[in-house]
């Protein structure tokens, strides 16, 4: 820090109005006040939904609602997009999206209780409050009910596998919740940072099938398509989106989080993003290019177009035994 340098006076206004800016964005470079920032975020999500064809008018969307920041923002944004109707004149693009997904698409929240003592209780409470605030039906699915044991018990003696085990079981629990809710799509709060981290992690593990796997398409009666509407938003943008609306709650961190490779990848990517802005977006774009060149894989799809099913539980899987049955063995 150089205290000898004079720091020039600078404008602190929004690029679009005279209010004070809360965020600086790039590509294109702009500073936005709270109102314009909220609108900007929601429009980028709307554009992604339309461009990717994520939601149709007859969809019932199961939102994975943990109560954390990403799923909170997801529920808020989807609620607004679906509720805003044709009178939302914020942009041409916004109106186009609303036309596409109105009038029948509706939301239901799915909350997974993994059974992590001292952590999940508070986030489940936050999730229930949010679902109630938006009048969205909520289904709570617990690991104990579904798998016969909570995560804390399942991890005894193998804590280093926490995120892998939890991730596998949570995906199954979310699918089960979506089925119970009669959902046609599952929406998760994965953001730009999460997605870029996943791309790099798959590369570091040498897991090409998972790198190119596309879970956005479905398979009748077997597999509910997953959508990630928050992909255009960074983790930082999501926190600002919530903070400026008074909707950010500093919830406890998962006690198992420190065991994850993801933490190291996150650190590495954030350093690269600082030095080379746009790194994360380029990483995701490269993954998408690879998908286009070699084609995507769908979970459980055999070469002849038939589906593999787990010998134990009958769920779709890529081998003989699904990941859930393997981690529960």
């Amino acid at each position: 820090m150089n205290n000898g340098n004079r720091v020039d006076e600078r404008s602190e206004s929004c690029s679009l109005c005279s209010k004070a800016a809360v965020a600086r964005l790039t590509d294109p470079k702009r500073r936005l006040c709270a109102d314009h920032f909220i609108r900007d975020c929601e429009e980028r999500v709307r554009n992604t939904i339309v461009t990717e064809g994520m939601i149709s008018g007859s969809d019932r969307i199961a939102v994975g609602l943990s109560g954390g920041k990403d799923s909170t923002a997801l529920l808020m944004i989807l609620s607004r997009i679906l509720a805003s109707g044709g009178d939302d004149a914020s942009s041409d693009t916004g109106a186009r999206v609303i036309d596409t997904i109105r009038p029948a698409a509706d939301l239901v929240a799915i909350t997974i209780d993994e059974g992590i003592a001292g952590y999940r209780e508070e986030t489940i409470e936050a999730a229930a409050a949010l679902a109630g605030r938006f009048g969205i039906p909520q289904y709570i699915i617990s690991f104990r009910e579904l798998f016969g044991s909570d995560l804390d018990s399942l991890l005894k003696g193998r804590e280093e596998e926490a995120c892998t085990v939890c991730g596998v079981l949570r995906r199954r629990a979310l699918l089960e919740g979506a089925r119970r809710a009669g959902a046609t799509k599952i929406a998760t709060g994965h953001n730009l940072d999460d997605e870029a981290q996943s791309v790099l992690m798959n590369l570091l593990r040498g897991d090409l099938p998972r790198l190119v796997m596309d879970t956005a398409s479905g398979y009748p009666d077997c597999f509910i398509p997953r959508i990630k509407p928050l992909l255009p938003l960074s983790e930082k943008e999501i926190v600002i989106y919530l903070l400026v609306q008074g909707a950010f709650t500093d919830l406890p961190e998962c006690p198992y989080a420190h065991t994850a490779l993801r933490g190291e990848v996150r650190e590495m990517l954030s350093c690269l993003e600082l030095q080379y802005p746009g790194t994360q977006q380029r990483l995701i774009a490269a993954r998408d290019d690879v998908r286009e060149i070699i084609g995507t894989g769908e979970p459980g799809m055999r070469g002849d177009g038939a589906m593999n099913r787990c010998r134990h539980c009958g769920e779709i899987c890529s081998g003989e035994i699904c990941a859930v049955c393997r981690v529960l063995e």
Binding site: M1, N2, N3, R6, V7, E9, R10, E12, A20, A21, V22, A23, R24, R31, A34, G68, K69, Y119, S234, E235, K236, I238, V239, I240, L243, V244, D250, L251, E253, C254, Y256, A257, H258, A260, R262, G263, R266, S270, C271, E273, L274
Partner: protein
């Protein structure tokens, strides 16, 4: 980095770990403050006197700069 006698008038910087530091009141680019304290600007939010601000804003006088980490596991 030059820290300041906390008994004197100056900026208050509160880091994600809740520790407090006092800096001289001279105008400073918040981005520089973040880097000086080892905070990656892509992973934190800056709250100046209770309001969220971009990190290219200036802090001065007795401003309170609260730095909030955006990353949470789980």
């Amino acid at each position: 980095m030059m820290l300041y006698d906390p008994d004197h008038y100056g900026m208050q910087v509160i880091l994600p770990d809740k520790s407090r530091h006092t800096l001289p009141p001279d105008p400073l680019d918040i981005h520089e403050i973040l880097l000086a304290f080892g905070c990656n600007p892509t992973t934190v939010i800056v709250i100046r006197n209770g309001t969220v601000v971009p990190e290219d804003f200036i802090a001065r006088g007795d401003d309170e700069i609260r730095i909030v980490s955006v990353s949470h596991g789980g």
